[in-house]
Every structure is written in C-alpha cells, then in structure tokens.
Amino acid sequence: MRLHGRSIFSGTAQGVALVTTQAISFFGGVDPETGVVVERGHELEGQCISSKVLVFPTGKGSTVGSYTLYRLKHNGHAPLAILNAECETITAVGCIIAEIVCVDQLPIRDIRTGSLVCIDGDVVRFEPPTDNMNNGEQP
C-alpha cells in the first residue's frame, strides 16, 4: 500500500513497524538507555522501539520528551522513523533535533506491527506482515 502524509523531518528509512493505538510519552515513558517502553499499562510496555518504524497516533507528556528522543538517537536506541496520525510539539521537535525521519497525517490504522515500511519524504509504502513476523515469534 502507498500512503501520502505530511513530512515533519524529511528523509528515507526502511524497517519493520511497531504499532500502537495509544499516545506515547517519551519522557518517563521510554527508557532512554535501552529504548524499552516503561510506561505502566501501555500497550507497548516492555517492547523495544530501537530501530523500528514506530507508529502511534500522537505524543503526550512533558516537553522534555524531545530531549529523550535525542538521547535515544545518541545511544543508538532511537526508532528508525516515526509515523503519526497527528504530530505535536514534543515529537516534532524531538525528531528534528535528533534527525529522525517523521511523517504525520497518516491513516495509521492501516499499518500492522511486523509490516515492512519504506518511507521516502512524505510517501509511506508498506507490505502486509509475513507470517512469522505476524505472530510475534523470534526465529
């Protein structure tokens, strides 16, 4: 499938999607040393966002979260790219200072965890997940 969004920080990226329908707070919600989601009760709690195409509706929480994205990047634990329904200040500023590809205004419901996603500027293409990715098992 091919989607057309709005580029927040432009670039190219290709990777496997990690999708949540819940907002993400980077400050306090993601461990900057490991990239693991630590917010209690979050759908992604315990999962690692490192080197994934991270797909979530919008950001929330403290504006210090922009610096968390920057810290993740410098620790080698940033997502490859971020896709949002509606980007907000914290995520946008974080992606710009950390130079993480970011596109918003996307129908993110169409994207499934495990799908291979290719981003080029404001164009997002993705394949349906393969079976072994779909059931979440590691080989």
Partner: protein, 397 residues
C-alpha cells in the same frame, strides 16, 4: 507557511547549522498548528536548564547549537538551573553535577543568552508590555505574561524557545492570535481569598476543571490581588490545567474586552478548602524540608521572611529560592544578613522543583500548590501546604 527571503535563507542553512535547525523547528511547528507566517518576538525565556532534567543528551544538543554558530537575536533569559551557581556546595550539590550544570550554562552563554535563571523573568529585568509577542517556556511565566500583563506567548518547550532566540521569530498561531484568546467558561468565586496559598488552591481547582477541554477561564468575584497572589495562581493554574491564559474581571487587562461566557461554574469556600486539603498528604509526619519561592520570591516576600525570622533560629533545612537580581536587592536592604543569621539558606538561580533533591528529604512544607505537585511527581516527597507566614513559623518550631 509563507516565509520571507531572510527566513528562507535561514532554513536553507545560509546562516549556519544552528540557525537552520532552529528554523526547521519553527517551520515544523508552524505547519503542524496552521501558522501562515513567522512573527518577530521581543523576548525569549528558555526552559530545560537544570542538568537534572536535561541529562547528557540535552547538554550535547545545547553544545552542538553553540558550536553551530547560534547567537541570540533578542533578549533571552533562562529558567531555574539545578543549583545555586555561586553557593552550590552549601546546598549539598555534588561536584560532578555542578560541573555538568556549569557546562549547560556555558553553552547558553556562548549563544548570548543572559544566564539569569528564574521562573519570574518579569521580576528580574524582563517585563513585557501589553500586546508584546514573546516565546517563553516556563509555564507559570507564560500564564503570567499572557494573563496578568496581556503579552502573547504560546507554551514553548526548551528547544522551540531557543529556536526563537536564535532567529528572533515564532510561528503565528495559538495565543498570538486574538481569536484564540476568548474566554469559554465562567468561574464565579464566592469565597474569601487572601493568602498566596488560597490562590494556589483556586488554581488547582480551576485547572483540574479545564485540563481536558483547555477552555480559557473567565474568573469573577475576586476583588483585588497582589502581584504575589497572581504569581501563585498562574503557577498552579498552569501546573494543574496546562493553561496559558485566564481572564479575571477587574484584574487582568484583557478581561474587559469580553463578555461573560454563558456556562458558569460556582466556586465556594468549601471547594477551596477541599482543594487545599488535597495538597496536604503528610498528616502526622515530621517536616524535614521547608521551601519558599515557587515561583521565585519577590523582594516583598523576602522582606516578610526577614521580619518573621529576625533574631530567631530555624530548626529545619529551609530554602529561599529567588532570582539573583532580587537576591542582590535583598543583600542591599539587609534582609540576606538577617535570614542567613537565622539559619535559613538562599538557593538562588534554582528551586525545589528542578534541583536534584530526590532521596534527601521526606516531607516538605510550602505555600505553593505547584511545588506540591512536583514534590511528589519528581521527588516523591510528601507535602504540608499552608499559608506563607505559617510555613516560616513551622520552620522555627
């Protein structure tokens, strides 16, 4: 967004890497929030100063911006740092933290930012006027500037405020546009308010009612306020409600522009008492930390502390937090000598919210509703919330 040729040059990197990054941030925000153009700002106030909040990554980002040739184009000041820049050893700050904090301030200084670290820039030499466009980020100061002064600023984050300092611009959306400053909900106060803590409780009460809707409150029934009352109210309303603006009949300059919103919520004395009680969660516990100055104290508040402490001795760790320029006035007027002789400490440039005090204390007494919120959220402290004079007297018991 329509950019001028100068702004396009900034975005293309013609004025250096730091200015380019700054303009990328502002253009992205402008696009997200539907701004049509950039507007000039007359001053900037930058949050994200305490190393406790910034961490190594924040320090790296600021150093990169300074290395990338960033220079402020408008007067810019800072939010409180994680320590008193001159007197940090006496406050129990560790040398490795101090070294990192000084590097943060050096990075700002290299960019031309005035390293006055305060949440009350309007008391410390940066007083905007009605209608000025600003890019401020301390939430209580944003609320004060918009509401009490009638200037115009969004609630900026640290990097976006810095971006405005390095370009002299901000995208025109939100609080900068008159159509977004209309009140939506009337609060009718039928209660007596005198103390700063009363206004803090009112801020919590109204803040929690507008937190979800972000409706701009129009408050009626307050006869008069002091500067310190509104300072306290703004801090609480911004903390509990995320508010950038309120109008108060007969008090704030833009209140007269609007008629009362038809939806009315009454506030009674009992409501206020309940809000104040909710900030006291330390019943029966021994207070081991007393803090006044959230937001930073005015010179009148410091004079009051000196009056209450003169010739006596405090029995507990007592921090008085204020801006360095206000401390200088206190020095000249003799208040500092009286307060320090009583055993209380000035913690200048910093405050109990941003200093690295987690684990050092267990129960804090304060007159600030905002300080109560962060005492728990950030430092896991229990709180005793009471009027200003009572906090000072408690420290003497």
């Amino acid at each position: 967004m329509r950019l001028t040729s100068e702004e396009n040059k900034m975005l293309a990197g013609g004025q250096g890497k730091a200015v380019q990054k700054a303009m990328q941030i502002l253009v992205a925000l402008g696009n997200i929030y539907g701004a049509e153009r950039m507007i000039p700002v007359s001053s900037v106030q930058i949050a994200g100063v305490s190393y406790d909040n910034l961490g190594e990554a924040g320090l790296q980002f600021l150093s990169e911006m300074a290395d990338g040739g960033g220079r402020t184009r408008v007067p810019a000041m800072l939010n409180p740092a994680g320590m008193d820049i001159e007197n940090w050893p006496a406050l129990g700050i560790q040398p490795d933290f101090a070294e990192k904090q000084i590097r943060v301030l050096e990075a700002f200084s290299r960019m031309g930012v005035t390293t006055t670290c305060t949440c009350t820039p309007y008391l410390a030499g940066n007083l905007p006027k009605l209608g000025d466009h600003l890019a401020w980020s301390e939430s209580s100061a944003v609320c004060y500037a918009n509401s009490v002064i009638g200037a115009r600023t969004n609630r900026e984050g640290g990097p976006s405020a810095l971006a405005s300092a390095l370009t002299g611009r901000t995208p025109e959306y939100g609080m900068h546009l008159p159509e977004n400053r209309h009140p939506a909900l009337t609060f009718e106060v039928n209660a007596h308010l005198g103390e700063n803590s009363d206004f803090g409780a009112l801020g919590k009460l109204i803040g929690e009612k507008i937190e979800a809707s972000k409706a701009i409150p129009y408050i009626v029934g307050i006869e008069s306020t002091t500067l310190e009352n509104t300072k306290s109210f703004c801090a609480s309303l911004a903390t509990y409600g995320g508010a950038a603006l309120f109008h108060m009949q007969g008090i704030t300059p833009e209140a007269g522009f609007y008629s009362l919103p038809s939806e009315v919520m009454p506030i009674t004395q009992a409501d206020l008492q309940a809000a104040a009680a909710s900030l006291n969660d330390a019943a029966g516990s021994q207070v081991d930390f007393v803090s006044l100055g959230c937001p930073h104290l005015s010179i009148d508040e410091i004079a009051r502390i000196a009056h209450l402490l003169e010739g006596r001795q405090v029995k507990v760790e007592f921090w008085i937090t204020t801006a360095r320029s206000i401390k200088h006035i206190a020095d000249q007027l003799g208040y500092t000598r009286i307060i320090e002789a009583a055993g209380a400490r000035f913690a200048v440039d910093t405050c109990c919210v941003v200093a690295p005090i987690r684990g050092r204390f267990s129960v804090m007494a304060t007159d600030s509703a905002k300080a109560c919120y962060y005492a728990y959220a950030k430092n896991r402290l229990k709180t005793v919330f009471m009027p200003f004079d009572d906090v000072v007297r408690l420290a003497l018991q």
